[in-house]
């Protein structure tokens, strides 16, 4: 239900290295938990997160159950030209979520 929370600076200078923050809603069920009746709770995690800058991948992470619920990432990239940052989360049970943010480079 919740939209991914993306945070990038409004404007950056060409060549500047800037930080991108991302946060989405996801239970990240490890697959190692049991109910009180002894049934295993099946794994349900985000397995890959990637970010593209004007179509070129600039960051990719392979995730494991050790990543906390509501996966949070910050990372950096060099400001080349204005355009769009595209984010994609893919996971178990056909999970797929995308988001994008505009970046203005002067």
């Amino acid at each position: 239900m919740a939209r991914p929370l993306i945070n990038v600076p409004a404007k950056v200078k060409r060549g500047q290295v800037f930080e991108i923050k991302t946060l989405i809603s996801h239970i990240m069920e490890t697959g190692f938990r049991f109910t009180t009746t002894g049934d295993k709770i099946p794994r349900d995690i985000v397995t890959t997160f990637s970010c593209s800058y004007n179509g070129e991948e600039i960051f990719r992470a392979d995730l494991y159950p050790a990543i906390s619920a509501n996966p949070f990432f910050t990372f950096f990239t060099v400001a080349t030209e204005s355009g769009t940052l595209d984010f994609k989360w893919v996971g178990d049970n056909g999970f797929s979520e995308t988001a994008s943010a505009k970046i203005v480079v002067e």
Binding site: M1, A2, N7, K21, M28, N70, F72
Partner: protein
């Protein structure tokens, strides 16, 4: 070994019984309240990273719920096809200070209700919509969004004489020993705050930031959920969501925290 109890003159035993009863009442009613100027929020005991998580809305997972709350606030719902915004307009204006003075007295219920119950009352009375389940994503989102509008303000329980007996009922619950562990809330949170319980710091239990993103839950949750956790911790049967005992406890806790700043939505371990 003889199990025969020593014989005590009847007058002494009666006086002793009354004295014990009085002592029990005195200690159960007053406990040892934390002096007003020594009260502190659990925020101050957080680790550096958890504080940072709470301080920055762009990295606080609770923001995901707040966003949802804002969406729901503006969404028409129920048979009346009405949104919260249709009556209350801009929440940043109309909801300012509201969460800080809940639980409040409800004439409809003839007793105190908490914010979640108020939201559900609005839904049934004004939106003709079914109530949202306790701890549901939607109800938490709305109470987080409304609660956020009180952030930075002082907790201000209403000066309402109708609430007095319910505050007292809450205080009695706070001081009552429960569960297999046979301890009361007061014994940890009034008498031993600041000390350690199995490696964790015992807070004063001031509910300044509810609904809270609790790291243990990896989710946002209400004060009632936390109270139920406390009771499970004492190996007692927890009161059901919405039970009068829970609401009275909430009411007492907010009275006990009066003047402290609202931090909703906070982060806690």
């Amino acid at each position: 070994m003889s199990w025969r109890t020593p014989r005590v003159p009847p007058i002494v035993s009666r006086v002793t019984t009354i004295a014990c009863l009085l002592f029990a009442i005195a200690s159960s009613v007053h406990g040892s309240d934390i002096p007003l100027d020594q009260r502190r929020s659990g925020y101050l005991d957080l680790g550096h990273d958890s504080k940072a998580m709470q301080d920055d809305d762009t990295i606080n997972p609770a923001t995901l719920w707040v966003q949802d709350g804002e969406t729901l606030w503006n969404q028409k719902t129920g048979a009346a096809s009405r949104a919260c915004a249709d009556c209350h307009q801009d929440a940043t204006v109309s909801m300012k200070g509201v969460a800080a003075r809940y639980p409040a007295f409800s004439v409809a219920r003839n007793g105190p209700i908490n914010l979640e119950q108020r939201i559900n009352l609005c839904r049934s009375e004004h939106q003709q919509a079914p109530p949202l389940a306790y701890e549901s994503r939607e109800l938490l989102a709305l109470s987080a969004y409304v609660g956020l509008q009180s952030r930075g303000m002082a907790i201000a329980p209403p000066d309402d004489s109708r609430l007095v007996p319910f505050v007292e009922a809450g205080r009695k619950l706070f001081n009552r020993r429960i569960g297999q562990i046979d301890m009361s809330c007061a014994q940890c949170h009034d008498d031993n705050w600041g000390k350690k319980l199995a490696g964790s710091l015992i807070p004063q239990a001031q509910p300044t930031g509810y609904p809270v993103y609790r790291l243990e839950w990896q989710s946002l949750g209400s004060l009632q959920r936390r109270l139920r956790n406390c009771m499970s911790g004492l190996r007692a049967e927890a009161y059901e969501y919405g039970a009068p005992e829970n609401v009275n406890l909430e009411l007492f806790l907010m009275w006990r925290a009066r003047g402290l700043q609202v931090e909703t939505p906070a982060v806690r371990p």
